[in-house]
């Protein structure tokens, strides 16, 4: 998943957590980068029509950005579910975050052929818990 898609996914999740525009501070925390880096990337995404940014208020996804964020979150759900259910990784959330940048959409689609993902994915992703609400984790987490 490329950096732009990781940002769009973070904006989507932050919007959901904050029930409004995503603040730069929350995005910086989620992405583990500086606020200056967030502002720079948000500026680029805005130029591409993927987000709307309002100073002091925050960032919102445009319709096109929302579509891409959905897709990125689906890819992330596939990685989490694959780690939890196929490789039986207990710390699947932490590890999914560590490898998501190396997993391309096409690779995730292939992994998706051997996991059971809900049709409502990614709407069943719980932003606070950072996982799908239906995911049965190894070790009964």
């Amino acid at each position: 998943m490329n950096t732009a898609d990781q940002y769009l996914k973070a904006v989507y999740l932050a919007q959901s957590l904050e029930d409004g525009p995503a603040s730069t501070g929350m995005l910086a925390e989620m992405l583990e980068v500086s606020p200056a880096s967030v502002n720079e990337m948000i500026g680029k995404l805005e130029q591409r029509g993927l987000v709307d940014h309002e100073k002091y208020k925050g960032t919102r996804l445009t319709d096109e950005g929302l579509e891409r964020a959905h897709h990125a979150l689906q890819t992330y759900c596939i990685i989490e579910r694959f780690l939890a259910n196929v490789l039986e990784v207990e710390r699947f959330r932490e590890e999914a975050r560590a490898i998501e940048s190396v997993i391309d959409d096409t690779v995730a689609e292939r992994l998706d052929t051997i996991i059971d993902r809900r049709p409502e994915c990614p709407d069943c992703f719980d932003a606070e818990a950072d996982r799908c609400v239906f995911l049965e984790a190894p070790g009964g987490e």
Partner: protein, 164 residues
């Protein structure tokens, strides 16, 4: 969240190599299922070239798997046994409509594997850390396998062109 492609821990490397093994197992299993899924009438029509290509793909994936497993073993980890992945493939397998569909699926497999190895190599090259397994050996193995995946994709494309 980890921004930018970079592999900097044994754990990351292990998981990504385990994913590579599963991708190879999926290729091997799907190639076997494709042959079995064709109805008798169509199976007779499948020319030798297609049958040979699928059989070779299975053998090549098994070989890649073994080379990756050797690296994973040195990292003190295990891989998911082929039978388990084969069962997961079987549970959700939908056969392509015809031989062209089989070849298209095979091409997707080869291209996906190539893309994965390409990204993985780039992510390892982006960091300078040492791993629990010799870094150069990992890169050499992955580059060799990537090259074979590229050749595999070319073979499928050529066969598809000849049949068109």
């Amino acid at each position: 969240m980890s921004l930018g492609q970079r592999v900097s821990t044994d754990q990351q490397l292990t998981r990504l190599l385990q994913i590579a093994v599963v991708l190879e197992e999926v290729v091997e299993s799907r190639a076997a299922h494709h042959l079995d899924s064709l109805p008798e009438s169509e199976r007779a029509e499948v020319d030798e070239e297609v049958e040979e290509l699928l059989a070779e793909a299975g053998v090549e994936s098994a070989d890649h798997r073994e080379r990756l497993e050797a690296l994973i073993e040195e990292l003190d980890a295990e891989t998911v046994p082929y039978d388990e992945i084969n069962d997961l493939v079987a549970a959700r397998y939908g056969p392509p409509a015809d031989t062209d569909g089989v070849l298209y699926d095979q091409l997707c497999s080869e291209e996906t594997a190539y893309k994965f190895y390409d990204d993985l190599i780039e992510a390892i090259e982006a960091s300078e850390v040492s791993f629990g397994v010799d870094r150069e050996r990992v890169l050499r193995t992955l580059r060799e396998i990537r090259e074979e995946e590229r050749e595999g994709a070319e073979e499928v494309t050529e066969l598809m062109d000849r049949r068109a």
